[in-house]
C-alpha cells in the first residue's frame, strides 16, 4: 500500500536519509551528551559560587591572610605547593603546569583528528599516544595535588583544642568544611572524566593500531573521542578560573 503513504515534508532535509546538520548520528549524539555534561559541570561550579558567596570573604591584605573556619580561603594561599620542594610559597605554579599539560594534550588530539582526515595511520597513532601520555601526566599531578591537600600544610591552625591539619569531607585546615567538600567533588568529578577519557582514548588507539579504522574506511571514532577530550580540557579551563584564580 505504498501509494497511501503521505509525504508531509517532501524536499525537506528532515525527511530522513540525509544529515540535515551535516554531522553523523554519532557525532551529534556526542555533542548532545557533552551538552548534558556541560549542565552538570555548570551546576557544580555555580553551586561553588553560591556557597562561596554565602560565606564571608577575607577582609584585608593578602600578606595578613591566615586560614580560618570563619571565612572563605584565598585559593592562591591554599594551592601554593610544588612537588619535591618543601616549604616554598609558589602560588598556583603547580596547577598552572597541570593546565598546560591538559591544553597540550588537547592540541595533540586535534593533530590526531587532522591526521585521521588524511588517513595517515602512523600519525594518528603517534598523536593519540601523546594525548594518552598527557592525560596520564595530568592524572598523576592531580593525585599529588589531592594527597597534598589531604595531608595538609605546616600552617595548620589551632581550632579549639584540636590541631586541625589537612582536609577531610567534614573539616579542613583551610576554611569552612564546604571548601574541601567542593574541592573533592568538583576536581574529583573532573578527574574522573579525565580518567575515563584516557581509557576511551586507549581503546580507540588500540583499534587504530590493529587497523580497524582502515577497514571501516574513516577515522570518525577518533573525532568523537576528540570531542570528549576537548570537552574535558574545556571544563578544566573553567575549574581553573573559578576554583583557583578567583
Amino acid at each position: 500500500m505504498a501509494n497511501t503513504a503521505v509525504v508531509v515534508n517532501e524536499g525537506s532535509p528532515w525527511r530522513g536519509g540525509v544529515e540535515p546538520m551535516k554531522a553523523s548520528y554519532g557525532k551529534l549524539m556526542m555533542w548532545f551528551f557533552l551538552l548534558s555534561d556541560a549542565f552538570t559541570f555548570s551546576a557544580l561550579l555555580i553551586t561553588y559560587g553560591m556557597i562561596r558567596y554565602s560565606h564571608p570573604a577575607f577582609e584585608g591584605a593578602i600578606s595578613d591572610f591566615a586560614f580560618s573556619q570563619e571565612y572563605w580561603p584565598i585559593p592562591e594561599m591554599v594551592f601554593d605547593a610544588i612537588p619535591f620542594v618543601h616549604g616554598i610559597h609558589a602560588p598556583l605554579v603547580f596547577v598552572g603546569i597541570m593546565t598546560f599539560i591538559l591544553i597540550l594534550s588537547s592540541v595533540t588530539m586535534v593533530l590526531a583528528v587532522e591526521a585521521g582526515h588524511r588517513m595517515d595511520k602512523q600519525a594518528v597513532e603517534k598523536w593519540m599516544l601523546w594525548t594518552i601520555v598527557g592525560g596520564l601526566m595530568f592524572l598523576g599531578c592531580q593525585a599529588w595535588e589531592w594527597s597534598h591537600f589531604i595531608a595538609g600544610t605546616d600552617l595548620a591552625k589551632n581550632v579549639g583544642s584540636n590541631l586541625l591539619q589537612g582536609a577531610s569531607l567534614t573539616a579542613n585546615q583551610y576554611g569552612p568544611s564546604n571548601f574541601a567538600a567542593l574541592f573533592f567533588f568538583i576536581t574529583g568529578f573532573h578527574g574522573f572524566h579525565v580518567f575515563s577519557g584516557v581509557v576511551i582514548n586507549f581503546a580507540i588507539f588500540y583499534q587504530v593500531t590493529v587497523g580497524k579504522m582502515e577497514r571501516v574506511g574513516h577515522y570518525e571514532m577518533v573525532e568523537k573521542v576528540g570531542l570528549y577530550w576537548h570537552f574535558v580540557d574545556l571544563v578544566w579551563v573553567f575549574v581553573f578560573t573559578f576554583f583557583y584564580l578567583i
Binding site: 546538520m21 555533542w31 556541560a38 549542565f39 551546576a43 554565602s54 598552572g96 597540550l104 592540541v107 578560573t241
Partner: protein, 107 residues
C-alpha cells in the same frame, strides 16, 4: 598469520592547517600566561574577577570553535548546542541571589 597489504592512500599534511592548530594553541597558552600575570599583580576585586571570566570565555571560544570544530559546523548545530546554555546564565543569576540572601541571614 593474516597478511594485509595496505592500499590506503595517505594524503600529505597541509602545512597551513597544522600551523593554524599551533597558532590556536599559542593563543590559549598566551591567555593562560596573561591570567597568571593578572593573578599576581592586580588586587582582588570585582574588576579582577570580571577580567578572569572574560578571558576564560575567550579561551572556551577557541577550544569549542577551533579544537571541537563547532565554529565550522552548520548554523543549526551551533545553535542547538549554544542556545540551551542560556539556562546556565539563569541558574547563575538565581543562585547568586540565593547566596547573597544566605550571607545576609547567617552573618
Amino acid at each position: 598469520m593474516e597478511h594485509q597489504t595496505s592500499n590506503v592512500q595517505v594524503i600529505p599534511a597541509d602545512k597551513a592547517k597544522i600551523m593554524k592548530i599551533w597558532k590556536v594553541a599559542g593563543i590559549l597558552a598566551a591567555i593562560t600566561i596573561v591570567e597568571f600575570i593578572i593573578a599576581f599583580t592586580v588586587p582582588a576585586g570585582g574588576a579582577k574577577s570580571f577580567v578572569f571570566i572574560a578571558l576564560t570565555i575567550w579561551k572556551a571560544f577557541y577550544i569549542v570553535s577551533e579544537f571541537m570544530h563547532l565554529g565550522h559546523e552548520k548554523k543549526s548545530l551551533i545553535m542547538s548546542i549554544l542556545l540551551p546554555l542560556l539556562f546556565v546564565i539563569f541558574l547563575i543569576f538565581i543562585l547568586m541571589v540565593q547566596g547573597a540572601s544566605i550571607l545576609e541571614v547567617l552573618h
